[in-house]
């Protein structure tokens, strides 16, 4: 099979192989690494995020000749590569590709994979591995990557020979995006990538017994529609699956035609325009009071593409306690996992909403309910105090930036209070404008995600709201943004603390602020300059709009260090495991 691969007649080979292959642009391969790259090229991959290293070198070598088609973004840390690929994957809908070497490279990727797994983001990771005959011998830079990543990937593979490695990568790529998306990983021993082969990867297939359901059973749809039509207090809960399933448009049409109020989950932010009168914004621990009141009082909840995370539900006993639940999900194992579904509808979100749309001819008689929802909006407005003599309120900074930027601006965040303010005080009207770490809650997500987002969507504004703590976890990626000339704006809501922890300590640990306040933080503006980015500092209200505008106008990465009120807290808040209807509006209500 590989006798002729050492010949130099590459041109001849190109012609024969291209003819033999149905895949357009399939090029000949001589070894496993080239087969890996050919599989990525087949799949239409344009960008990769990674860090070099010993065991992955053959794959990088194979990329050398393909740099024009497959652009590699060299990241500062593998965690950054995984987060960048994650954001890239969310925005393009195709798996983001990240690469790392064996051992420490692979373990550094793991946090990013776990993050993508929790948020069902399409990512494929390619990791180098020590040669097969050294596996299991604690060889230099050896880690059982497949073992380590098994619980945090949708599927993972150990490549065992050069012949099949290309197809394996193709399958992993397909799996990452099909059905419920998620991260996949292929571990690539060096002898496999160096091994000779001429097998060009074919178009990937996944096992036939893992067919993904497209539409829900007609009778199930009928029953669900009956329940929804008969409801007096209907509510839609739109989750991240609506965005991932490209179903925002269908969802909007359905909700608006039948005039059903909509709450979203946090990952579902942007699936329904927050400025629409039916919008109640997002529910859960720091969601709006009106969203949580509506969830608590509805009598029929049409939940789409959500896994009922405990940050959303609070205590299960009090979650939508009077509602029949219609649960639409592409993943059957989500049905009744956390909250019992009275009407499970398994299928693709957009297809199932179309089915509901077609079957629904009666609008629920819910005038009173809609009015009630408006009343809650008035009773629990999202406001904050802005005494001019106090330190800046973070909410003001978020709103000011929202005003300066176009509707399709992409917001990324770290994890903490700033993340909640960015979610609460920015008005999201489009899907794929809010990119954050939800399920895993990974500090340090924001900056590398902004990099991945900008690479995926170079024409859109990308703003990263970060905490001083979160930013310090991945700030080295600023070097990448500068190197790649990425025009992103990082706004540090700087409270010189890991603020969310400080808030919990104040509320639940008698104000014992153990390890949550920083005695000192770096000067982020100067730090930005050291990285070659543009740095700004802002402390006063009057200076906010101009500073933000200057940072936005700067053509390249910029960092705005915004000194905010270090004592500001996030409200509303549902205590962990509490009743959503009992959200606190201030500390003394907790």
């Amino acid at each position: 099979m590989s006798d002729h691969v050492s010949t130099v007649h590459t041109d001849e080979q190109t012609t024969t192989t291209t003819e033999a292959q149905s895949d357009e642009g399939a090029s000949p391969v001589t070894n496993g690494a080239e087969a890996v790259v050919a599989a990525l090229k087949n799949a239409g991959v344009e960008h990769l995020f990674g860090v070099q290293g010993g065991a992955i070198m053959p794959v990088y070598d194979a990329l050398h000749a393909k740099q024009e088609q497959l652009r590699h973004v060299t990241m500062a840390h593998e965690q950054g590569a995984a987060h960048a690929a994650d954001a890239y994957g969310q925005l393009t809908g195709e798996p983001g590709v990240c690469m790392a070497t064996s051992g420490p490279g692979a373990t550094n990727l793991t946090t990013g994979l776990a993050d993508a797994d929790m948020d069902s983001d399409p990512v494929i990771a390619l990791t180098g591995q020590v040669p097969t005959d050294l596996v299991g011998h604690d060889a230099f830079q050896e880690t059982d990557t497949v073992g380590v990543t098994r619980p945090v990937t949708k599927a993972n593979y150990f490549a065992s020979d050069a012949e099949t490695v290309g197809d394996m990568v193709g399958e992993a790529y397909t799996l990452a995006r099909e059905g419920r998306p998620g991260p996949t990983l292929v571990d690539l021993p060096k002898d496999v990538t160096n091994g000779t082969t001429d097998s060009v990867p074919v178009s990937p297939t996944t096992p036939e017994y893992h067919d993904i359901p497209e539409t829900a059973a007609a009778s199930a749809v009928e029953n669900a529609v009956r329940a929804l039509s008969n409801a007096r207090k209907p509510l839609i809960l739109s989750g991240g699956g609506v965005i991932k399933g490209d179903a925002s448009e269908e969802l909007r049409a359905f909700a608006i035609e039948h005039r059903i109020p909509v709450v979203t989950t946090m990952p579902g932010i942007g699936s329904f325009p927050e400025d629409h009168e039916l919008a109640l914004e997002w529910a859960g621990m720091h969601g709006t009071g009106y969203a949580n009141m509506a969830i608590s009082h509805c009598d029929c909840l049409l939940a789409i593409g959500t896994r009922f995370d405990d940050r959303l539900t609070g205590g299960i006993e009090t979650f939508a306690p009077e509602a029949e639940i219609i649960h639409v999900d592409i993943d059957a194992s989500e049905i009744s996992k956390n909250v019992h579904a009275d009407y499970p509808l398994i299928g693709d979100a957009s297809r199932v909403i179309e089915q509901l749309q077609a079957a629904m001819d009666e609008e629920p008689a819910a005038d009173q309910w809609r009015e009630q929802c408006q009343t809650w909006k008035e009773a629990y407005p999202m406001t904050y105090a802005t005494p001019e003599d106090e330190p800046l309120k973070p909410q003001f900074v978020v709103e000011a930036m929202d005003e300066l930027t176009p509707e399709d601006t992409i917001v990324t965040t770290g994890v903490g209070q700033h993340q909640m303010w960015a979610a609460q005080y920015w008005t999201y009207t489009e899907p794929n404008t809010w990119i954050s770490s939800h399920g895993l809650g990974t500090m340090g997500y924001g900056l590398p995600a902004a990099i991945g987002a900008k690479v995926a969507a170079p024409d859109r504004d990308v703003v990263c709201f970060d905490g001083d703590g979160s930013l310090l976890m991945t700030i080295q990626e600023l070097s990448v943004a500068v190197r790649e000339g990425l025009d992103i704006t990082v706004i540090v809501l700087n409270n010189e603390a890991v603020g969310m922890v400080r808030q919990w300590q104040d509320a639940f640990f008698d104000r014992r602020r153990m390890a949550s306040e920083y005695q000192w933080v770096p000067d982020f503006a100067t730090l930005a300059e050291a990285f070659g980015a543009k740095g700004f500092t802002v402390r006063e209200y009057e200076a906010v709009p101009d500073t933000l505008e200057a940072a936005r106008a700067y053509d390249g990465p910029s960092v705005v260090d915004a000194f905010i009120d270090p004592e500001e807290n996030v409200y509303p808040m549902v205590a962990s495991g509490g009743n959503n209807a009992e959200f606190a509006l201030s500390e003394d209500q907790l």
């Binding site: 497949v146 073992g147 098994r150 619980p151 599927a155 150990f158 799996l175 096992p207 017994y209 893992h210 009071g289 009141m293 608590s296 009082h297 009922f308 299960i316 006993e317 009090t318 979650f319 306690p321 009077e322 509602a323 029949e324 993943d331 059957a332 194992s333 049905i335 009744s336 996992k337 956390n338 909250v339 019992h340 009275d342 009773a379 629990y380 407005p381 999202m382 406001t383 904050y384 105090a385 009120d565 004592e567 500001e568 807290n569 409200y571 509303p572 009743n579 209807a581 009992e582 959200f583 606190a584 509006l585 201030s586 500390e587 209500q589």
Partner: protein, 206 residues
């Protein structure tokens, strides 16, 4: 000190009285569903490939399913293997085990077996050999086989359903049991019924 937001205090709000069970089921008087755990057997037909057992057991342990036993063995088709799980869960928990297992790539098909399924377990146990005649008698009573008999120990094998094995172990306890190795249950659907949905098309007559 930072301020909160405006709006009625939690106590001033109308809060619904309904509740859900820990499984997220609405508790209403008419169908006050109580979900007791029961023991059941789940059979999974899987690709016979390295790592499949660790994938299955990893999933079971990560999700905190209450697993009693897990056995694995080959089938008529060299490409597939059968994993038999005995679990103790509530009905919603059992559905979860099934759907979660089905999601694993090497898992082809999963089914909870009916009550009439044929279930068997094997135990090898080693007792002290002071009363060999009695040991033989009890072994016979349970249709077992003596595998090894020496002056100090006797090792026997008993096959049967779980109850029979438990009873046998109780009966042997009088001699003093030194060691036990149990296989855990393995099972097939009774009669002509295929054990899982994917069985028939993968059947290879041997």
């Amino acid at each position: 000190m930072s301020q909160g937001l405006d709006g009625p205090h939690p106590e001033a709000r109308n809060i619904p009285e309904g509740r859900r069970s820990p499984e997220g089921i609405r508790l209403d008087p008419q169908n006050g569903a109580d979900h007791e755990r029961h023991r059941t057997v789940i059979s999974a037909l899987v690709q016979h490939e390295p790592g499949v057992l660790s994938k299955v057991s990893g999933l079971v342990s990560r999700r905190q399913f209450n697993i009693e036993s897990l056995t694995v063995g080959s089938t008529t088709n060299p490409e597939t293997a059968r994993i038999t799980l005995v679990i103790e869960e509530s009905p919603p928990g059992i559905r979860q085990v099934e759907t979660q297992l089905e999601k694993l790539l090497p898992v082809i098909s999963v089914r909870e077996l009916d009550d009439d399924a044929v279930r068997r377990e094997l135990v090898v146990l080693k007792v002290h050999g002071e009363e060999p005649d009695k040991v033989h008698a009890i072994t016979e009573m349970y249709s077992g086989t003596v595998l090894d008999a020496g002056p100090r120990t006797i090792t026997v094998e008993i096959t049967g359903d779980e109850q029979k094995i438990d009873d046998a172990i109780d009966a042997f306890a009088q001699f003093g049991i030194r060691e036990i190795a149990r296989t855990g249950q393995t099972a097939l659907a009774r009669g002509e019924m295929w054990t899982t949905d994917a069985e028939e098309e993968r059947y290879e007559r041997t």
